[in-house]
């Protein structure tokens, strides 16, 4: 059909307009959102239980109930026969750290702890930790009467290079041999702060691995240097992951249970009878920290301990004395900038360090020491929380399962059965907690270890 040119012209204009209209209306097909992270199950997970120079130790390694079979656990160099829900005990001389390696399915539920056995003043208990790059400890000492030892363990195949930084009341404490400490694969290094960086007062220690990963433990001791018969007390200082604006110190012992030295002069000048809160500000400007006590009735301000200014780069000790009235108490510290916090109670025959609690989601477990009265202490943060508590027997069977609702900003304590060898506490992230162990007049606090069933890793894709 032969059309007039005008008709072709009109047709062309119409087609142009319609095509452009269509192009303008078309919207790009939705690009599927690319996940930023994915969940992977690690094939290998390592735990290191710290050594104890003063006493033998007993290590407890357990698997979370419900951990799939098909994995393996090796403690030291020996396979460990432990099933889901069970806890295995490994007695070692204690002079060397214990490395536990879980493979395959067992990585999804491994947890452990170590306790000192024997020794008059050795009541220390610590959890077994996985290697990482950064460790913070508050309340260490580097004087003859209050001294700490940093133990660096590298359980990984590659060498690790570590820097140890120490701060005291007057700022950074210079010391020799604290930088570029190389820990060979599978090796251990110890740094005695009293030798490397002698200083007075309560210290804050930061361990940073610039290469590789390490497990750092800090064994703290006090000693009545005036008493020739005195034995040193010992306790592992629980670590903090990183400075934060909001911290909860858990597992505090009651004051009347403390075997407090009657003579204050027997203590180092930095330590006072009763509890002392050690705050450290790693920032470049001073921050103000507010301290409150959290109990079953909510929070309260400790008497005589108002807002405390923490100078930049300095550790500040706030004596709290006997402000902690009962076992179910926690300290809540809020600051204007990231700080670290520690709470220690020196005793005549015991030394106590509180646990800086961390929020967790899912199960957190603790392998319980064999002796002593065990109490689970749970603190709810800004919002009320509810946790599920499972107590497990040695054969892996569940002794009990109950729920605990904790009001906001309150701390509740609940006893743990004497037959339980482990406790599993499940949370949705609203609470922090610890297990308080009381053995006569000796107290210790054991952190709850969030059990990492899987790793959240960034999604990897080619650049395009």
């Amino acid at each position: 059909m032969r059309l007039r040119p005008l008709a072709w012209l009109v047709a062309a204009v119409v087609v142009t307009a319609l095509a452009t209209l269509f192009a303008g209306q078309a919207r790009p097909t939705s690009t599927p959102h690319l996940r930023g992270q994915s969940i992977v199950t690690p094939q290998v997970r390592q735990l290191v239980c710290p050594s104890s120079a003063d006493a033998d130790t007993l290590s407890h390694v357990g698997l979370l109930p419900g951990t799939p079979s098909g994995g393996s656990v090796v403690a030291g160099e020996r396979p460990l026969a432990v099933q889901a829900g069970q806890v295995a005990e490994i007695g070692t001389p204690g002079r060397s750290p214990l490395s536990v390696v879980a493979r395959n399915q067992s990585t999804r539920g491994i947890f452990g702890s170590r306790e000192q056995t024997g020794g008059t003043y050795a009541h220390g208990v610590s959890r077994c930790s996985s290697p990482r790059a950064s460790w913070w400890f508050s309340g260490a000492g580097a004087s003859p009467a209050h001294y700490s030892t940093v133990e660096l363990v590298n359980p990984r195949p590659g060498a690790a290079v570590v820097d140890v930084s120490v701060w005291g009341p007057d700022g950074v404490v210079q010391g020799a041999g604290l930088r570029g400490i190389t820990v060979r694969p599978g090796g251990t290094k110890e740094v005695a702060l009293a030798d490397a960086a002698p200083a007075e007062g309560n210290l804050v220690v930061h361990v940073q691995a610039s290469r590789g990963l390490v497990v750092a433990d800090l064994a703290d001791h006090t000693l009545d240097v005036l008493d020739p018969k005195a034995q040193p007390t010992t306790e592992w200082i629980p670590d903090l992951l990183a400075p934060a604006r909001h911290l909860v110190l858990s597992g505090l012992p009651p004051p009347d249970a403390q075997d407090a030295p009657t003579d204050a002069a027997s203590l180092p000048s930095a330590l006072r009878p009763g509890g002392s809160l050690v705050l450290f500000n790693p920032g470049s400007s001073a921050v103000v920290a507010r301290v409150r006590l959290s109990g079953e009735d909510g929070t309260s301000d400790p008497t005589g301990a108002g807002p405390t200014s923490v100078p930049a780069g300095a550790a500040v000790t706030v004596p709290l004395g006997d402000q902690v009235k009962n076992a179910g108490t926690a300290l809540i510290v809020d600051a204007g900038g990231p700080i670290t916090a520690g709470y220690l109670v020196p005793g005549k025959t015991d030394l106590f360090h509180a646990v800086p609690g961390v929020h967790w989601e899912g199960p957190a477990a603790a392998a319980l020491p064999s002796a002593g009265r065990r109490t689970l202490v749970v603190t709810a943060d800004r919002r009320a929380g509810r946790v599920a508590i499972s107590e497990l027997a040695a054969d892996g069977s569940r002794l009990s399962r109950r729920y605990l609702s904790v009001p906001a900003r309150s701390t509740l304590a609940t006893p743990i059965s004497a037959r339980a060898v482990s406790v599993v506490v499940s949370s949705r992230g609203q609470v922090v907690g610890s297990v308080q162990i009381a053995d006569g007049t000796a107290y210790a606090a054991l952190p709850l270890s969030p059990v990492l069933a899987a790793l959240r890793v960034p999604e990897v894709r080619p650049m395009s």
């Binding site: 062309a12 790009p28 790059a133 590659g158 890793v457 894709r461 080619p462």
Partner: protein, 930 residues
């Protein structure tokens, strides 16, 4: 001393009367007149007998030497009492001597008794004024050297007697005993026999002299194809074979092998050259000539033995008679000069609109030629000149921020590689050492850029710079050429070219680094101009237009493959309107596939890549509403305000009001519709390629450029001669004026915006962000020292790429887009970020990675993972906020892909042949008189 004339004739009736009259008029008496006729079919024999010549008739295939020998046999021998053997004056049937020629030759012979062969000055017949030969020699390449300029007039400038190697047999006066002793070589035709005879005479101790006072007028009928004979039909072959035979038979024995090789190679190159200028018969002649000489050593050996029997002097004693060895080089320089002179003449013709006549075409009495304006005047008067000058000045002003600094890059434009050798290598190689190895084909535009790099002496950055900084004036020139073909006046074409050249600028193509649209816009008018020839009535010119359009389309598709879709739509319309001639449009569509091998073969496996233009795929994604699309704004930064284009659209609509131009305006709007349809397609689809982690959307820029081209075309064809119609009166007058004003507003506004705003967008000149220089330098020298570059972190994911020799340059990004990522490498990186083990570092090293580099801001997760991973140690970064690690394991390439594209070499060879064939087919045929 008897003097005889020996004339050899073959179908020379046209010239014989003058020749015979010339002989009759000789002032010196002639004792015998003998003619040998070799199979003439005209009245040559009758003319000779009528003039009283002693004629012997021989066959047409009788060799020249035999003809002369037969003629010599008919000449009576001198009496024993005469000590002189006598002279034989050889003439051709197309060589007329001057009346005193013989006398002067004999006078010279008497004066120089040692000379055995003499020859006259040969002048052109019929002009009678131009010199042909005054003695002749031969060069080392077989070229017949006369020592004269082509078309040189005889002004006595060469009039001096001198000994030469040889003289032409037309008018040769030779002693009878010498002729009997040496004779002509029967295996040679008349071509080359004179040189061979002279060379043998010289080796035999005889001298040959040219006598300028004696004049002979020669038609050179066989050489010029004016003679009806088999010899004339094959004169090129015979001349070439004769020259090669003469060189090999008479040259030194020591240089024989080298000379044979040299002549063989030269012959093959000459054959190739003839093919390239579409003279296949001459090419065949070259090969046949080689076959009968260089590749016939027995024949040459026999000839050499024969010459040894008559030679009495060594080769060194005759060397001074040969052409100097540097003479072929001088001819080459002369040819180069002639080529550029022809270019200048072509430019003068195109600028001046007239044919330029060269010196040998112009008579000295021609007054007009002396009044022809000079080249400078022609250039200054041409509007094209002002378009070029103005365009270049504005381009430099607009690109003021891009005139200096580092490499040009940004937006969709990666940086150029260090040199064009990278592009050549990418085109040639079946395997590419980028990333984890790739066998994907290089994009089609890589070869084009590499060829352009020859002009910039291998500087790749200069190629890109020229395309972007000077792209607008170059596009304007290209468009002007097209619009001048479709309009009668300059004004409309000028405005149209400017408007079209501004289209990609106002669309933001330059600012966004859209290499495909920028270059595609430059090439599109060339293809369109060639396409105009598809309507030519002459078959040969029509097919030439087909091939030119195909080449233009291939070049455009190399940068903007969607141009093929536009061509498809146009071809469908052409075939529908002229179903009888479908072959041309089909060839136009199919040929680019061959010309763009091997990329086309690889792209067909991923059809989506045919919608992506040159540049980073998916860069600067944008979308716009219909109005802005219609006004040529595809979206993205660097585009001009949309309202600047409204005038052009309105003017294009008003173009339909001009009734006389409906047809052509409809064609222009048809092009616009084709562009709009392509733009609609690219706006709708999303493309997935193996090397892209997410679907990307093609940029609609090129389709909208075609749309704008159609609008501009409508305005131009309607505006051409607008003033005439405006003065005609009626309601169309204000409409036409309005359209013109609106179009001018768009153009002027666009120019002003371009000049003021400049190229403001992601495109920039500066250092390219990438790994530290020491890493790039190391990876450039060691293939197994690549850099794993990381970006991102925990929240948005970690992206990676393996770089060798710095960030991916132009061309490599397209290869990477067609290359599927190695899943094993991705797995290694996931493990490194999750739970690194010592084996992971070794696995990474097997991919030829020596460094890991993360540019600031560095994710703490990434930093912590590599700090913790065994097998890595910290290295220095470009800034203190970057993070770098060095692998402690020695990197290898054991895990990379080493496979190459199958049949890549075959595809490259096919592409080369297709390109050569297409170029040859685009050229006009060489008219050869045969």
């Amino acid at each position: 001393m008897p003097v005889s004339v020996l004339l050899v004739s073959h179908n020379g009736e046209r010239w014989l009367p003058a020749v015979l009259a010339g002989v009759e008029q000789q002032t010196h008496p002639i004792d015998h007149r003998v003619a040998i006729d070799t199979g003439s079919r005209d009245g040559s024999v009758t003319a000779l007998r009528t003039s009283g010549w002693d004629v012997e008739q021989l066959g047409a295939a009788t060799p020249w030497a035999e003809s002369v020998r037969a003629g010599l046999a008919r000449i009576p021998a001198p009496p024993p009492s005469d000590p002189h053997p006598g002279w034989v004056w050889i003439l051709h049937d197309d060589s007329a001597p001057a009346p005193d020629a013989l006398a002067l030759l004999l006078e010279a012979a008497h004066r120089h008794p040692d000379v055995a062969v003499l020859g006259p000055k040969l002048r052109e017949w019929p002009s009678l004024r131009r010199l042909l030969e005054m003695g002749v020699t031969i060069s080392g390449t077989g070229r017949r050297e006369t020592g004269l300029e082509r078309g040189e007039y005889d002004q006595g400038q060469h009039d001096r007697r001198r000994v030469v190697l040889a003289v032409n047999t037309a008018g040769m006066l030779v002693r009878r005993d010498v002729l009997e002793h040496l004779g002509f070589d029967r295996s040679l035709p008349v071509y080359g026999n004179d040189l061979d005879f002279g060379w043998r005479a010289a080796r035999a101790g005889y001298s040959t002299m040219v006598v300028p006072e004696a004049v002979c007028f020669h038609v050179e009928a066989a050489h010029r194809g004016q003679r009806a004979s088999r010899l004339a039909e094959l004169h090129h072959r015979q001349e070439r074979a004769g020259a090669i035979y003469t060189l090999l038979a008479n040259g030194t024995g020591r240089g024989w092998a080298l000379q044979s090789l040299r002549l063989g190679v030269l012959g093959l190159l000459r054959a190739l050259g003839f093919l390239l200028i579409r003279a296949p018969l001459e090419a065949w002649d070259e090969l046949v000539a080689l076959g009968s000489t260089v590749f016939a050593p027995r024949r040459i050996a026999a000839a050499r033995r024969a010459r040894q029997r008559t030679a009495v002097v060594g080769h060194s004693e005759v060397r001074h008679l040969l052409a100097p060895p540097w003479l072929p080089l001088r001819h080459l320089l002369d040819n180069v000069g002639d080529f550029f002179s022809a270019l200048v003449d072509l430019g003068r013709e195109s600028v001046g609109g007239r044919t330029v006549r060269t010196a040998h075409q112009v008579d000295v009495d021609d007054v007009e030629s002396s009044q022809e304006p000079g080249l400078v005047a022609l250039v200054l008067r041409s509007p094209r000149t002002w378009l070029i000058v103005g365009g270049f000045v504005l381009a430099l002003v607009a690109a003021r921020d891009l005139l200096h600094g580092g490499p040009l890059h940004g937006g969709a434009l990666p940086a150029a590689p260090a040199g064009t050798g990278h592009w050549w290598s990418a085109w040639w190689s079946a395997h590419h050492d980028l990333g984890t190895g790739s066998s994907a084909p290089a994009p089609g535009y890589v070869l084009v850029l590499a060829v352009l790099g020859v002009l910039t002496l291998g500087h790749a950055g200069a190629v890109i710079w020229v395309l972007f900084v000077l792209g607008v004036p170059l596009t304007a020139l290209s468009a002007l050429r097209f619009f001048r073909r479709v309009t009668d006046g300059w004004a409309a074409a000028f405005v149209g070219a400017t408007a079209y050249a501004l289209a990609p600028v106002v669309a933001g193509a330059y600012a966004q680094g859209r290499l495909g649209t920028v270059v595609g816009g430059l090439l599109l008018p060339w293809a369109a101009t060639s396409a105009l020839g598809l309507a030519r009535p002459e078959r040969e010119r029509r097919w030439r237009a087909v091939w030119r359009t195909a080449v233009g389309l291939a070049l455009t598709c190399a940068f903007a493959p969607t141009a093929w879709l536009v061509a498809l739509l146009v071809a469908v319309v052409l075939i529908v309107r002229r179903p009888g001639w479908w072959a041309g449009p089909v060839v136009v569509l199919v040929a680019p596939v061959a010309l763009l091998l091997p990329w086309a073969a690889g792209a067909l496996q991923h059809p989506g890549s045919l919608l992506l233009e040159a540049g980073v795929a998916g860069a600067l994604p944008a979308s716009e509403d219909a109005l802005r699309l219609l006004l040529g704004r595809p979206g993205g930064p660097g585009a001009a305000p949309w309202w600047l284009g409204a005038g052009l659209l309105v003017a294009a609509l008003l173009a339909g009001l001009r009734e006389q131009r409906h047809g052509r305006v409809a064609v222009a709007w048809g092009v616009a519709a084709a562009g709009a349809l392509v733009a609609a397609l690219t706006a709708t689809v999303s493309v997935r390629l193996p090397g892209l982690t997410s679907a990307v959307h093609p940029w609609t820029g090129f389709g909208l450029l075609v749309l704008q081209a159609g609008l501009v075309g409508a305005v131009v064809v309607a505006g051409d001669g607008l003033l005439t119609e405006v003065r005609a009166g009626g309601w169309r007058r204000p409409a036409g004026l309005l359209g013109g004003v609106l179009a001018a507003f768009s153009v002027v506004g666009g120019l002003a915006w371009w000049a003021v705003a400049g190229i403001s967008g992601p495109l920039e000149r500066g250092p390219v962000a990438g790994p530290p220089a020491y890493m790039s330098d190391l990876s450039a020298t060691h293939d197994a020292s690549g850099v794993l570059q990381l970006r991102g972190g925990r929240a948005q994911g970690v992206r990676y790429e393996v770089l060798r020799d710095g960030p991916l340059p132009v061309g490599d990004d397209a290869i990477a887009a067609l290359t599927a990522p190695d899943p094993a490498l991705r797995g290694v990186l996931r493990r490194l970020l999750a739970d690194p083990q010592p084996a992971d570092a070794r696995s990474l090293a097997a991919y030829g990675v020596a460094y890991v580099y993360a540019r600031a801001p560095v994710s703490r997760r990434v930093s912590a993972a590599f700090d913790a991973a065994p097998g890595f140690s910290r290295a220095s970064g470009a800034t203190r906020h970057d993070a770098s690690w060095r692998l402690q394991d020695t990197p290898t390439l054991s895990a990379t892909d080493h496979d190459g594209q199958p049949f890549h070499l075959v595809l490259v060879v096919l592409q080369g042949l297709a390109i050569v064939a297409a170029i040859v087919l685009t050229m006009p045929s060489r008219r050869v008189r045969r």
